[in-house]
């Protein structure tokens, strides 16, 4: 190995290390502050590490700000959104890729158009619609619009195109009904992509902010990020408390990501290959 290639390699590792510190440090620092108490957080720049780690702030924000309640809301909404989206995207993505029916091209086109509509621009009429049917402050107000996710459909559709059509033909000739084919052949075959879409949607739903803030105005119905933003407006000077809130909001998604990295990254990569 020449000196130049060696130098290049060292620079590469160094560059990556700096980038990794830059991305991880803010997160670690906030977590560390969440574990500190008054003297350390009260004056000047807080130290890098808590000298006496304590869960005081976490317990405090859970007890006084009812964070458990918001955590529960977020969990319910994210889980329901994920389940519904995977069902909807799974069946639609399969049919658009592998079942020939009248109007298929129109539906495909509508889905592609849906990808290009910024959903945050739609909150005004959405609010009116949910108000009209008295579903504001209900979980349904968050779950239903989030399940109308064209990206999930596009991902499943693209994945399904990679599976030979003959396998489905073989099942038809074997005598399986369309529903049986879906259940016994299609679902197992696209399971990896369904998992990927599921994780992606779970994280997106958990982190969603603008629409949940608009749709959940009743005390106790907010999701975690919405509640956190509201607490922040009142208590932004209590750095320990807010750091604890941020940590509690971030940590579950980091864990979900670490546990399902393979699937999650697959959905990210597939998203760039779909058209």
């Amino acid at each position: 190995m020449s000196l130049r290639t060696r130098a290049l390699q060292v620079t590469t590792y160094l560059g990556l290390a700096i980038l990794a510190i830059a991305t991880l440090f803010p997160l670690l620092w906030v977590t560390s502050i969440a574990l500190m108490r008054a003297p350390e957080t009260a004056a000047g720049t807080p130290p890098l590490w808590p000298h006496h780690p304590t869960l005081y702030n976490v317990v405090d924000i859970i007890r006084r700000q009812h964070l458990g309640r918001y955590f529960f809301n977020s969990m319910v909404v994210a889980a329901a959104t994920t389940a519904l989206s995977v069902l909807v995207a799974g069946s639609a993505g399969y049919a658009l890729a592998r079942v020939d029916f009248r109007g298929r091209r129109l539906v495909s086109w509508l889905v592609m158009l849906g990808v290009l509509i910024p959903n945050q621009a739609l909150v005004l009429p959405l609010f009116e619609m949910f108000r009209a049917v008295h579903l504001i402050n209900h979980y349904a107000a968050l779950v239903l619009p989030a399940a109308a996710n064209p990206v999930g459909i596009v991902l499943v559709q693209a994945y399904m195109r990679g599976i030979p059509a003959e396998i489905l033909d073989a099942a038809r000739i074997d005598g399986a009904s369309e529903w049986r084919i879906f259940r016994s052949i299609v679902v197992p075959l696209m399971a990896p992509m369904l998992a990927a879409v599921g994780v992606l949607i779970f994280v997106v739903s958990w982190n969603d902010f603008m629409w949940p803030m608009i749709a959940m105005q009743q005390e106790g119905m907010q999701t975690l990020p919405v509640a956190l933003a509201a607490i922040d407006r009142e208590h932004y000077q209590d750095i320990g408390l807010m750091a604890a809130g941020a940590t509690v909001t971030i940590l579950p998604m980091v864990l979900v990501f670490l546990a399902s990295q393979r699937y999650y990254l697959r959905s990210v990569i597939a998203g760039s290959l779909t058209d």
């Binding site: 030979p164 099942a171 005598g175 049986r180």
Partner: protein, 345 residues
């Protein structure tokens, strides 16, 4: 078991392109019908229409006397083997074999019995718990065959089942298929682009080109009495030589028919010596000799062009020398220059 009848069947795609026009052919009960043609001739489409995977634009398809045009694949009592096997990748060999019976509600004990019997027949007993990705090409193809056999369908459809295998394996499976057909006695339709496969397997052959039937007959008839110039050139390897009367040394001795004719001679029909007084001589210069061991392939330039001849090896033959070859009159095929149709001499 049942006969398959295809009557005046046509297929026109949504963009108006005609894939098949007025195709009529039939497989008798228990017959192995080979459908052969160049790629894009519509043979796979025809098979898929019989299976019910493609809609029928015009005409009638009957299985066992019953019109099946509007029936879904699962209602037709057909089985199909696909070119790329189309095994279910997430199921073991056992589950792949059992799936068709399972979805039709066959009792478990019965399924188990039949799966094991079929596996034994195909030498797959040891593979039952493996997944398709853990099988060799031949084992995959046997599994696909087994899946189709297991249901004891009325008609067995095979779409280029051997084309993804390598040559020795192909020959082995071709023999097995032939044996299998004899023992099962099921009507089979075998689609292939390989004319030698069609010749060796088919009891009768349908030659398809440009979406139209060119000829339907036994392998012997298709080879020795091709219905038109296309079939003559497509069936047989190396392909038939096409000549004009003037290509021969004495054009006046070449039998004439009505209209302008083109003549065909198969490479193996040339002889180095005359066999009878009626034989037609053709003189040419040897351009190339390719030894195939037991025989030589000679490329000759004659007065009007080139021919390829298959001869027994002879020391006397040298590149660059003139040679006179002989063709028996009965080995001469004639085709109308305008229509391409066979003309009896």
């Amino acid at each position: 078991m049942a006969a398959l009848e295809i009557e005046n069947v046509g297929k026109i795609l949504r963009d108006g392109q005609a894939v098949l026009r007025d195709v009529t052919c039939a497989a008798r009960d228990g017959e192995l019908l080979a459908v052969v043609g160049p790629s894009g001739c519509g043979k796979s489409t025809l098979l898929r229409m019989v299976a019910g995977l493609e809609s029928v634009t015009s005409g009638v398809i009957r299985i066992g006397g019953q019109t099946v045009n509007e029936l879904a694949p699962q209602q037709r009592d057909v089985a199909m083997v696909f070119q790329n096997h189309a095994l279910y990748p997430h199921m073991t060999v056992y589950e792949n074999l059992a799936f068709g019976l399972l979805v039709r509600g066959t009792p478990r004990a019965n399924i188990d019995l039949r799966v094991r019997r079929t596996a034994a027949q195909l030498g797959l007993e040891a593979m039952l718990r493996r997944y398709p990705r853990e099988l060799s090409g031949g084992q995959r193809q046997r599994t696909a065959l087994g899946r189709a056999m297991l249901r004891q369908p009325a008609v067995f459809l095979l779409d280029e089942p051997l084309s993804s295998l390598d040559v020795p394996l192909r020959a082995e499976l071709r023999r097995e298929l032939s044996t299998l057909h004899r023992s099962l006695g099921t009507t089979m339709v075998y689609v292939t682009h390989d004319q030698s496969e069609a010749l060796s397997l088919g009891e009768r052959i349908v030659v398809l080109a440009g979406g139209r039937v060119q000829q339907i007959d036994t392998p012997v008839q298709v080879y020795h009495r091709p219905a038109n110039r296309f079939v003559a050139g497509f069936v047989g390897w190396p392909p038939m030589n096409f000549l004009a009367a003037e290509s021969f040394d004495d054009p006046t001795r070449v039998p004439a028919g009505e209209g302008a004719l083109e003549y065909g001679v198969r490479p193996e029909c040339f002889c180095a010596r005359p066999g009878g007084a009626d034989d037609l001589p053709l003189t040419g210069r040897i351009e190339r000799i390719e030894s195939q061991g037991s025989e030589w392939h000679l490329e000759l330039t004659h007065r009007l062009g080139q021919v390829l001849a298959r001869l027994r090896p002879e020391e006397a033959l040298r590149v660059g020398e003139q040679v006179r070859l002989w063709v028996k009159r009965e080995d001469l095929h004639a085709f109308d220059r305008a229509s391409g149709l066979r003309v009896e001499l």
